[in-house]
């Protein structure tokens, strides 16, 4: 790699190369080229569109007419046409080139690699079918319309384009903000490891999520994760190892260097959301605060399965709470009562968080629509955002209720889950990252 990975995520100028008519092969089609051009309209830098079929109004017809020294080219052409135009492309002195389609044979890949060796350029792909996104720059160089996630501190690297798009799809579904995204595909030049290295240094990125298949230089990769977790959490999902013993071995490597491993896309985003929004957890004792006492049983079960214990509130805190609200029942969990409103949520959560016997809090709401209003839920977010050393996560046991709670705290730094298991997994990840941080600080 001789170019700058930075140009992939933070280009000031982008050249889109494709054909608006005539050429169809695999992922290459006029429809996708139109989508790509459309998706880039939010880009805050300069966009040049090169239409080799010469039909798109206002587009450049010939590569030779593209101004030299642009930052990033996104190429949507079949392999044969890429190779035919390869020299012209290289002559443009572009810093980074994304080759979206796959289908490059051994010989063609070698030629691509030679280009990288000779020029100051880096290549993402071929087969980088999900493209690249940087939401804060309006960079949305991908083929599907309407998959742009909201802004956020999570960065996603995906080996596979389809899995990458699925991650973006779920991110949108759950309203999880994504800052940067890239799919690496065949990785003739830039690999997941290179992107990981960049994102480790990237100030906007709070959490790094990676979807992997095989790893070429495992030693380097594992070393890079070790470095990354000193600065921010890394969440890994991998495919293709479940059939043999290496699955267990790979899981052990990740654990050893402090990466959090998850099984499915929903878990990836759920865990990453918590890591992006809440501080790491420093112990095992969780306080459960709820307006629906019965359903809290399920939360306690889910927490126990992850090896958490229930926090016991001190007499002082208990007295403060019951002194102000005598009807609040404090036993295994804090039962606010079904009519709890914002003032009660706020006061009780603040008290619970101030207790030295509490390492983290789960707020479980059953949404009695007639009682709980958006501002009541916002009180949770308000307290959670102020908590600097103890995580607060919110959970419902009902799906529809979860959508409403999420809507009420949209854009706020409190993760909201639709099942106790997911909430417990989120706290588990926060606890694991807390331990990792402690090890880093101890230097072991």
């Amino acid at each position: 790699m001789s170019g700058e990975v930075k140009a992939i995520f933070e280009p000031k100028s982008v050249v889109l190369v494709g054909a608006s008519d005539g050429i169809r092969e695999g992922i290459v089609s006029p429809a996708f080229f139109h989508s790509l051009v459309h998706n880039m309209h939010r880009f805050k830098g300069k966009t040049h569109v090169v239409d080799l079929s010469g039909k798109l109004e206002g587009a450049i017809k010939n590569l030779n007419q593209v101004p030299k020294g642009r930052d990033l080219a996104v190429v949507l052409l079949p392999s044969k046409l890429v190779m035919k135009n390869w020299r012209n492309l290289l002559n443009l002195a572009i810093k980074a080139i994304i080759l979206v389609p796959g289908g490059f044979d051994q010989q063609q890949r070698k030629e691509l690699a030679r280009g990288v060796a000779k020029r100051k350029v880096c290549i993402l792909g071929p087969n980088a079918t999900a493209g690249v996104i940087n939401t804060s720059k309006g960079l949305y160089a991908t083929l599907e319309r309407g998959f742009m996630p909201s802004r956020g501190g999570i960065a996603v690297i995906s080996k596979d384009g389809a899995v990458g798009m699925a991650i973006l799809d779920w991110a949108r579904f759950y309203g999880v903000g994504v800052g940067k995204f890239a799919s690496t595909g065949d990785g003739v030049d830039v690999t997941e490891a290179d992107l990981l290295e960049f994102l480790t240094r990237d100030k906007e990125t709070k959490v790094i999520c990676i979807y992997l298949e095989s790893v070429r230089d495992g030693r380097r990769f594992i070393g890079l994760i070790r470095e990354a977790v000193k600065k921010k959490p890394v969440v890994v999902m991998n495919g293709g190892t479940a059939r043999d013993e290496r699955d267990k071995i790979f899981a052990a490597y990740l654990k050893q260097v402090g990466a959090i491993r998850v099984g499915i896309v929903e878990e990836l985003l759920g865990v990453a959301d918590a890591l992006a929004k809440q501080p790491p957890m420093q112990g095992d004792r969780v306080a459960v605060v709820t307006n629906a006492s019965g359903a809290a049983t399920l939360v306690v079960d889910a927490l126990s399965r992850k090896g958490f214990g229930l926090a016991e509130l001190s007499d002082k805190v208990t007295k403060k709470i019951t002194g102000k609200y005598p009807d609040i029942n404090i036993a295994d969990w804090v039962d606010l009562g079904i009519g709890a409103k914002a003032d009660r949520y706020k006061f009780v959560l603040e008290q619970v968080l101030s207790d030295h016997g509490v390492d983290g809090v789960v707020v479980m709401n059953e949404l009695k629509l007639s009682f709980l209003e958006p501002e009541d839920v916002q009180a949770i977010a308000e307290v959670a955002e102020k908590s600097k050393d103890k995580p607060v996560v919110s959970v419902t046991v009902a799906g529809g209720a979860c959508v409403l709670v999420r809507e009420a705290v949209k854009g706020k730094n409190v993760p909201v889950y639709d099942s106790p298991e997911k909430a417990a997994q989120a706290l588990d990840a926060l606890r694991f990252y807390g331990k990792t941080r402690a090890k880093v600080e101890k230097g072991v």
Partner: protein
Amino acid sequence: MGLVADKKKVAEILNSIRKDGRRELVELESKRVLAAWGVPVNRTELARDLSEAVKVAREVHYPIVLKIASPDIIHKSEAKGVKVGLSSELELRQSFGELIDNARAYKPDAKIIGLTIQEYIPPSREVIVGALQDPSFGATVMFGLGGVWVEVLEDVSFRLAPLSAEDAREMIQEIKGYPVLAGIRGTPPADVGALVDIIQKVGQLAHEFPRIAEMDLNPIFVFDDGKGAVVADARIVLRESE
């Protein structure tokens, strides 16, 4: 990690195996490598014939363990090539020929170097430490309790080498059978610190000698806390080519 590693000596032994055109080290050679690397092994001596055996056994002290030594026989128990706890010269004399006969019956063309006379270790908790080279990630260490724990329950843990003491401790605590080592129903805890040391050393050895494709220290006897651990059998296999 109290490392008294003799890198030169290990390289010498491995080179001589290569020169022999072999990949597989016999138990005695494997233990020499481990001993040179500072891993505690039970005293193990070669006897090429009976008179040598009688002499060596007196030095090792009865009771002893007698095992067939052949580069062609990997599973010595399967070949009925092991006698444990021989307590006298009479028993040694009775067993010597028997083990050689058994080996011949098991594998007629096996090259038999002789028998090893080994220090007998009284029954204690058994663990296994192994190493492998992952094609992408490199030297990797495996840990498990002996016998059914590993073979049936697959209750093992892995870590990338080299390992910190904390890594080694975590991999010991991670297995489901850990309470067996921590001490259950009145049994005192096992010497986990000694295991941490062995695991770290095995990891370092596999990391510094990538030509070691596989290592299997099985069983390792681990004594009560403060009393150490000792490797009772070991197998090292080299990579196919340099």
